[in-house]
Subunit: 574 residues, 2 copies
């Protein structure tokens, strides 16, 4: 395998053998290590010293089930700290099959032009992007597929990334060429924009593929693992059936669905935006209730959502998006929320950050709570590059500051996602302490706090939350390195054999002799690396805190976030 | 003396005796200690937990020359750290004569209304501010003087403070009721706005005055000290004659006048904005070339600037303002710069932050470099509360982020003032390390680097800059506690007897037995307190750095900022 280095200052692409140090790393483990090794932690995130590092996971490109996840690493313009953002779609598998361990994009072009990277079996070519500059993501994909065929993978940025706004995402096309999977959080699109890269085309025609040391052993482990996934009630039933939106009713019932900019824990109209309702609507309008975001996915939590006329409206319609624009903004019109999802995908902004931001703009009185048309207009302003669009496109913290609002749900300046930390306290520990800024995926305590997967930790009690979050953060960092979708975690937590099967696949592929303990050690090492970067970027324990308004009681449980600071500071004691 | 506490949540004013702990503190020493003792370092700066602490210096209200400086302390919405901002005008002397050691404004009103504080011999009353809400500073002063007479002192916020923008200042009227002195830096106006306080009226009619233990000794020391000040070439000649703008030619000659958003060290048209030229213009237009910002000032560096028609345009027209809109924005029209100064005073924004911000907006292409009309329009938008105005009014860092610009001269998110840290390296050490964010007054190395006051340290060499900045930061923290104007420092540094005279005044007034060493210890203690607050607010050494573009060579000396990080980190080793 090779590491490719794209130097945008010189307009040059080079490749290098994988150094020994990086041989056992992939995905998040690799991107976080390269960022830590090569990026000055105090550099300007949009300047020439930042780097955008793209790496498929260790198992990507193989037949391992649901192994098509890609990691994108950089210093975040949103948080100022290290960022790994993880995405499905068509990129990871194709890059891995092309023998690419990582792409490092560095420097900054001397001109104001946008460029494209064409990645194929012949290496990486730097091309001009005149045909797509200024375009939105759907249009980009249409244009590129016309020129390069329908089998390409595409990573791209929309206008938000071109404007280098902190909420800008990197879109990754799904198998049908729809830009619905996003390396969303932390402003990766802005970093890509600052490098002058508008799109990355990945053509894996005649790719060598991934070499597997022991094919038989790999096949057996993969088959077993797929069976475990499909037999688990969450990854085998709930997610394929209803998508992630199955959580709307579950989290609402738990009193943890943040409503009206985190004022309440339940949304009166949750049933109008629930997974069950969406499922029925999709069927009725002849959309697709289940769909895989990448080839080889056995969980298939995605779906294709049609409008009232039966025309395509959006896909990859996630729980967090539905919550962000729904309960959080008091919008109960699911078609409007679907339109907002489409706009985020098209313009290239993180749906979570945008929903939280629109909530803050509503708090500020820019528009009213519940005003779906106003929310649509705010997103459209981002694309238009208006002054208001530049405020909104820089996220919730920025918008709060612009309008002098104090009720701003962020940690490390990143918007807090769809689970209230007062009534589901384990996730609050994760929000506060993960080096990523408020991020539910970094240590998804909902498993034990709500879903009773793996273990049970009462979501309303203080006890056990730090330990829970620590264990999950360690496990997640490791999973994010394998290229496996994080949704395999439900099975990993419940079924003791599952982790061994992941280790078996890795050993079979790479001729390694890992044990399950090594996986834990990998997770710990990644977290230490990321935290070290953040310390050198200017963070200390005082940055590991939730906003003060989480001292307000949250109905229906009257819960507050009361994990003592000293306990939060124990999270990294491992 | 008393400490008054204004609780805006309850709408209640109480007074308390000065606790032993605070007895020996005044000015910055007192505000920084109270903020550190009472403000949660991780609170939202615009929320109810922040406090605005107002304290005259230890010698304020006496006949000590140039002793009318006021300290305002708070957690800064601009930097996120502790802030002491120091201002002349009519407040400090009157508050001290009323026996007020400090006013602590805390909490937050439950309604959206604005209030006023009326401070008099009868204590502090909380009044509604209906007559001035929404008004700009000049109008506020006119209205209040009509109602309360011409002998009041006034502290007020303009629209920027009402909007809670991070560059909002607190205006303090001069003796003629012009809002031309500002507690400018760090967003004190936003904090005052967040407390719902539009103005503070200080009526010292029949005030008890300041009690002096040994009047004879005090008088003698004060007379001597005044003589030293008036005989020093800077405080006795340069400043009274030309005002602070005398520095335009001096710093330009040194190659340290940041030009075109810190691209060059000399401005081609420096002579069109120099102190000498301004002096001549003022005389020609029958303004006042010299004027004291507070009663009892012997330095009188202020002036009254008339327009071409001979009508009042602005006053307190400082070097840093002239630089900020002049060389930094490439505007060579001094009348336009005076108009920009007037607008900042009227709207209530920090002139330094605004000049740096307009430079960044020019960098972004919002308007062109040199476009004076465009700059005026940008400031007017702040008053109008437009989206663009909210961007600009939140300062340089915010504006850079809005427009995706990386050449943003800030430290701890506060705009870098009028001395390039590459060609005057001592000031670069101060910018990087002071707990205040980029602030020239915190350790004004220009003395030794350029003016040859006190000692000489070659501005272009690395050696000695950290020691210089450390010594000056310690001395400054102490001077900022006395109520003496920082411009006494020229004499303090050059004339060994001067500091003893300050100590003599303090001892005579308070019946203390201080030595000059105690003054140094006071300065050290203040810096430690402030740094401790910042550490608990989330700062570490990595925040003590200049932006990366100061690695670019600066003409005419080809200088870069090259003080090693390890040396910067030694600054607080005392």
């Amino acid at each position: 395998m090779k590491i490719y280095r794209v130097n945008m200052t010189e307009g040059k692409v080079t490749s290098e053998d994988v150094p020994e140090k990086y041989a056992a790393l992939g995905g998040r483990g690799l991107t976080s290590q390269i960022v830590t090794d090569e990026v000055d932690p105090i550099c300007h995130p949009l300047g020439p010293k930042n780097k955008l590092v793209i790496a498929p996971g260790l198992l990507s490109g193989t037949n391992a089930p649901s192994s098509g996840r890609l990691s994108v690493g950089f210093k975040s313009p949103l948080t100022g700290g290290i960022k790994e953002t993880n995405v499905g779609g068509t990129a990871a598998q194709k890059l891995a099959r092309l023998g690419i361990k990582a792409i490092i994009i560095e420097g900054q072009p001397q001109d104001d032009k946008f460029y494209m990277l064409k990645v194929s079996k012949d290496g990486i070519k730097l091309l001009d992007a005149d045909s797509i500059a200024g375009k939105k993501n759907y249009d980009i994909n249409k244009t590129l597929r016309k020129e390069y065929g329908n089998n390409i993978g595409v990573m791209s940025i929309g206008p938000a990334g071109e404007y280098r706004l902190s909420a800008a995402s990197i879109a990754v096309a799904d198998t049908e060429g729809r830009p619905v999977r996003h390396a969303g959080r932390g402003g990766g699109g802005a970093v890509m924009g600052s490098k002058g890269i508008k799109a990355i085309i990945i053509d894996d025609a005649d790719a060598p593929g991934v070499s597997i040391h022991d094919k038989e052993q790999f096949r057996e482990a993969a088959r077993d693992f797929a069976k475990i996934l499909t037999e688990h009630p969450v990854s085998g039933k709930g997610l394929p059936m209803y998508g992630t939106a199955v959580l709307v009713n579950v989290i609402n019932e738990a009193g943890g669905l943040p409503t009206k900019n985190f004022r309440h824990g339940r949304f009166e109209f949750a049933d109008k935006i629930s997974g069950e309702m969406i499922h029925d609507t999709i069927k009725e309008r002849k959309g697709l209730p289940t769909h895989g975001c990448h080839a080889g996915c056995v969980i298939r939590c995605s779906q294709v959502y049609h409008d009232k006329e039966g025309n395509y409206l959006t896909a990859g319609f996630e729980y967090e998006t539905i919550w962000a624009f729904g309960a959080n903004c008091m919008i109960d019109d699911i078609d409007a929320i679907a339109k907002l999802d489409f706009l985020c995908d098209d313009i290239g902004v993180d749906t979570i950050e945008m929903g939280v931001t629109v909530g803050v703009a509503m708090e500020a009185g820019v528009i009213d709570f519940g005003d779906a048309g106003g929310a649509i207009n705010l997103l459209e302003q981002i694309a238009e590059g208006t002054q208001l669009g530049r405020i909104i496109g820089n996220g919730a913290g920025f918008t709060g500051k612009a309008f002098g609002v104090t009720r701003v749900p962020t940690v490390k300046n990143q918007g807090i996602p769809a689970y209230d930390p007062r009534s589901i306290k384990g996730i609050g520990v994760t929000y506060a302490t993960t080096p990523m800024g408020a991020d539910h995926t970094a240590g998804y305590s909902i498993t034990a706090n709500v879903l009773k997967v793996g273990r049970q930790v009462d979501p309303l009690e203080k006890e056990g939350q730090v330990e829970l979050s620590r264990d999950l953060q360690i496990a997640t960092a490791a999973v994010d390195s394998t290229g496996l979708c994080l949704f395999v975690a439900f099975a990993l937590l419940d079924e003791p054999k599952a982790l061994q099967r992941v280790v078996d696949m890795l050993n079979a592929q790479y001729n390694w002799e890992l044990t399950t303990d090594d996986i834990t050690e990998l997770g710990k090492s990644i977290l230490r690396t990321e935290r070290d970067f953040n310390t050198r970027a200017g963070f200390n324990n005082a940055d590991d805190r939730l906003p003060e308004f989480f001292e307000e009681e949250l109905a229906p449980h009257g819960a507050v976030f009361d994990i003592p600071h000293e306990e939060l500071d124990q999270l990294f004691n491992f």
